[in-house]
């Protein structure tokens, strides 16, 4: 297994009837086992990148590799690929297809033709992991949006993928739901699963991610460690991506009251880094 899980090499994709390419000569390598965030303005190609990475769209140019093995577009390879790369859509309704919570979680497992006993065990385990046991037999249309999000993530995680792509996971969620989702994502990351999250929420990215990809007009603009990327972004105000609140506060504070030189990445760490 290489240090990089997913790789794109010079990938191009233009939607039918579109004048401009959604993704243009895109190349990047995604480090394995890290919490990566994908940021960029609306329409920069983040969602298209996800659809390409899951083998849902076929690149018109370039190659996509997983563990160094290129993606081929035959049914068998795609099925194996999608077992290893899970995709969680921005709108949970897009991927919830079964009538109840437990049956929806079982959907991906049934598609793998696993024995019924294994399906039952894995569904029960996933329900417990995502605190959904009480909702197991509830119909999906009786759930709140936050619960639907949890079910959609659970349905992907039950397949035990190596890489999970999450498109705007915090969209439509309130503060508490976002906090709970963060905890769930952390526990997924701790289990060794690589996470790639597309988001506009820079405060979330600053606190959560340890690797960042920045896209602009279908291509990769920057990539690197979180603090290094934000330093470069600060030097590129024309991008108009904004900066995390904590980062801005830290940079506005006079150096005399700072106990550390490394910018803190949480409120608590900010408090601990200041001399009052």
């Amino acid at each position: 297994m290489s240090d990089y899980l997913l790789e794109m090499q010079g990938v191009d994709y233009t939607y039918p009837m579109a004048e401009q390419a959604a993704v243009k000569n895109l190349s990047f390598r995604l480090p394995a086992g890290r919490k990566t965030a994908l940021i960029g303005q609306n329409g920069c190609g983040k969602s298209t990148l996800f659809l390409l990475a899951d083998g849902l769209f076929r690149p018109q140019q370039g190659e996509i590799l997983l563990d160094g093995v290129p993606l081929k577009f035959d049914r068998q390879t795609l099925n194996r690929w999608r077992q290893r790369v899970g995709l969680v859509f921005q709108d949970p309704e897009q991927q919830l297809v079964a009538p109840t919570v437990e049956s929806d979680i079982s959907y991906g497992l049934c598609n793998q033709n696993l024995p019924t006993t294994e399906i039952a065990d894995r569904v029960q385990q996933t329900l417990a992991d995502f605190q959904l046991t009480e909702l197991a037999r509830r119909p999906l249309h009786h759930l709140s949006l936050g619960q639907k999000k949890r079910v959609s993530i659970a349905g992907v995680m039950t397949l035990r993928p190596d890489l999970v792509l999450l498109d705007e996971p915090t969209a439509y969620l309130d503060a508490l739901q976002t906090k709970n989702l963060l905890l769930e994502l952390d526990s997924i990351a701790q289990s060794g699963t690589t996470l790639l999250i597309a988001t506009h929420d820079l405060d979330f990215v600053y606190q959560w991610a340890d690797w960042i990809l920045v896209m602009q007009q279908g291509s990769l603009l920057l990539e690197g460690e979180t603090l290094a990327v934000f330093e470069q972004l600060q030097a590129l105000p024309d991008l108009e991506l904004g900066l995390p609140l904590l980062w801005q506060v830290w940079n506005m504070l006079p150096p005399a009251i700072k106990l550390k030189t490394v910018p803190p990445r949480s409120i608590k760490k900010l408090h601990d880094s200041l001399h009052f």
């Binding site: 899970g86 859509f89 109840t100 437990e102 119909p139």
Partner: protein, 261 residues
């Protein structure tokens, strides 16, 4: 879309009974209702009411509203069966009234036919409501999957069930958005808002279809929709015995009716 119906099916007191037990019971009564006489059919309706309202705990007002809603349609069509028009009412007619140079009359035969249709429909409706209100659709689909019905049919039923609620939500949100901007202020505006809503709904259905197709592919769609569902049901001897004993009593009642009436 009446989501209360769906919610009751998921929360009624008979939820823990195996869906097969409830379905076989209701089907047995439905078949019985086809062949027995009106008093036995009325007994079936009452018995179903006991099961639905008292055993399953469905609010009686809701149940009554549903039954009356359906029966009101039936009653309007019964008028056409009961009433006949001729230049001269037959001698065996029960009532007759002169109208436009002829006579409107009610004959014994037509009245009996109407009573039979009414009682049979009432019994069938009651058994159907028993199924609808006590067996959630997802569980019904699992039972249907075990029958020789084509798989495509049960898959389509499940997808339709999922889509109905999605589209109902979309329709509701569009209607609220229209209402908030005065879209239903006058009858004319309401008509144009409804037509706009239908247009939007068709467009969004097409978009939703594309999105779901991608979502299903991403989850490894394998040419058929297969799900697993737990079966935490408990067969109830008490309900089982009551249903068997009740069916036997109904058949005995029918035999007595045929012999003595």
């Amino acid at each position: 879309m009446n989501t209360q119906l769906d919610a009751l099916a998921y929360s009624n007191r008979l939820r823990s009974l195996p869906p097969k037990q409830k379905l076989f019971f209701a089907l047995a009564l439905l078949v019985t209702a086809m062949f027995v006489h009106p008093p036995i059919q009325l007994a079936i309706s009452l018995w179903m009411l006991v099961w639905t309202v008292f055993y399953a705990g469905i609010p009686w007002r809701f149940y009554l509203g549903m039954v009356l809603g359906v029966m009101s349609f039936l009653l309007t069509s019964l008028v056409a069966i009961i009433g006949n028009f001729a230049s001269l009412a037959p001698a065996d007619s029960l009532w007759s009234w002169p109208l436009w140079g002829g006579q409107v009359y009610v004959s014994m035969g037509a009245l009996q036919q109407a009573i039979e249709i009414f009682s049979r429909s009432l019994a069938s409706t009651a058994t159907l409501f028993f199924i609808i209100l006590t067996v959630p659709f997802a569980e019904l689909a699992v039972v249907l999957e075990q029958t020789p019905l084509p798989t495509i049919l049960t898959e389509l039923l499940l997808l339709c069930y999922r889509f109905i609620f999605l589209l109902a939500e979309v329709a509701q949100s569009i209607a609220i958005a229209q209402q908030s901007r005065g879209g239903y202020r006058t009858r004319r505006l309401a008509l144009s808002s409804v037509s706009l809503l239908i247009r939007q709904l068709i467009q969004r259905t097409a978009l939703r279809y594309q999105q779901i197709a991608l979502g299903i592919k991403a989850r490894g769609f394998n040419q058929e929709f297969r799900f697993w569902q737990s079966q935490p049901y408990k067969y109830s001897w008490r309900y089982g015995l009551e249903s068997i004993a009740g069916c036997i009593l109904l058949i005995i009642g029918e035999v007595f009716y045929r012999i003595y009436v």
